[in-house]
């Protein structure tokens, strides 16, 4: 009986005062499509492939990224151009299997592949989540090329490393 009164007259008002205090604290909700969280500078989002200053691709298709990849989501086929320079004829990343660990970026000897800050690239078709080389390459100025077939996904002109989040 005594315990019950202690609960009613001490514990419950104390609990009520705690919740009442929280009623007037500012909500921490981020209203997503309008507001976005600021990303960490080390955020790992969608990949992009860099170019040299003369416009050629940095990637030489050595296969180290594919070897480093724990989920095996990178597929590539090498070829040689007219100057005998090795390049990737096919370079695909299956973004559905990718775990965004960033090992490809670490393994790359040519500093060709990076993980940018884009994360809004969901799609309703699995095939479209396999990103081809054209989808991953950026321009000399570091901007995304157009990806015409994707309904959503990264749009042209966006710098993948400076995505405001």
């Amino acid at each position: 009986m005594f315990e019950v009164f202690k609960t009613i007259f001490l514990a419950i008002p104390k609990g009520l005062s705690v919740t009442f205090k929280y009623l007037f604290t500012k909500a921490i909700t981020v209203r997503y499509p309008e507001q976005k969280l600021t990303l960490s500078p080390r955020y790992r989002g969608l990949h992009y492939l860099k170019r040299n200053e003369d416009g050629s691709e940095k990637c030489v298709c050595c296969g180290l990224c594919a070897a480093a990849c724990p989920s095996g989501c990178i597929y590539m086929e090498p070829a040689e151009d007219e100057f005998g320079q090795r390049y990737a004829k096919v370079y695909e990343i299956n973004e559905l299997r990718c775990i965004f660990c960033g090992y490809c970026q670490e393994a790359c000897p040519k500093e060709a592949i990076f993980l940018g800050k884009e994360y809004e690239f969901s799609n309703d078709q699995r095939e479209k989540m396999i990103y081809k080389k054209e989808d991953l390459l950026v321009s000399i100025f570091g901007q995304r090329m157009k990806r015409p077939d994707a309904r959503t996904g990264p749009s042209g002109g966006v710098r993948p490393d400076e995505h405001s989040g």
Binding site: V4, I12, G15, T19, Y22, L23, T25, A27, I28, R31
Partner: protein, 327 residues
Amino acid sequence: MLTFIIITLIKVLVIFVVFLLMIALLTWLERKLLGHFQVRLGPMRVGPHGLLQPIADGIKLLFKEDIIPDNVNKFVYVLAPLLTFIPALIIVAVIPFGKSIELFGQRIDMVISNFNMGILYIFAVASLSVYGIVLAGWSSNNKYSLLGGLRSSAQMISYEVSLGLSLIGVFMIAGSLNLVDIVNAQDKLYNWFIIRQPLGFLLYLVCATAELNRIPFDLPEAEQELVAGYYIEYSSMKFSMFFLGEYGNMINVSALATTLFLGGWHGPFLPPVVWFLIKLTAFLFFFIWIRATLPRFRYDQLMNFGWKVLLPLTILNVLITAVVMIL
């Protein structure tokens, strides 16, 4: 006679519409306040600050498929939601929400029906809503529903005894069961029954929360154990009937507390109806606040608390009141 009927019909219509609007607003208020209690925003998308959310919910519920499972007892299954909703609606009839006014030479009471057994009527009708829940649990032919229904009946019957007894003190002092007379007995602040009957008021609040099946007494629908309790099998408008009934009862209980303990419409400066609504809203806020704070009782705790603590205390309250009145 004819004018009386017309006036009553108009009052019924106005109160019915206002009551349903209040239920809709209450669902919004509850979600909004719970959100802010949990440092969230609550509904924000539909209308300014989510104010039109109840309309969106209503439209959604209307267009949902109305499922009647194969193994249910169809008649009782359809009847049960009505049995919880209609009592909530008709209780409003005896609650006075303002002073009588003179209009075109006619005296208009701000209550649909001013009859002298008001409280008894409320108790009688309120206990009907137990049937709705029990029958819903039984007719659904589902173990969880049945358990929810049984728990609910056990809980509501145990707490109804205390609920009735907790109000006896008020009637003893007011000397009437008529709600208008009870409000008139509390014309000054020091006359309010919350001051003359503090224990009775606390006991009423506890029992009312239990009657409403709200946290911390929401065992009938305890979703962690019983999925959803008695209304698992219900969908569409039948499902929302239970919720309309529940929120309607919440308003009724708050209105009753206002009438019996907080002096009804009495208050300075503002019009009586406004005072009534302010006090009513304070109670609604309190119930939502309680929901945001307290955890659920265990079943044995619920029964022990009901029979071993509340019931003796209510009887003690009646005794004390009687002794003080004689002295």
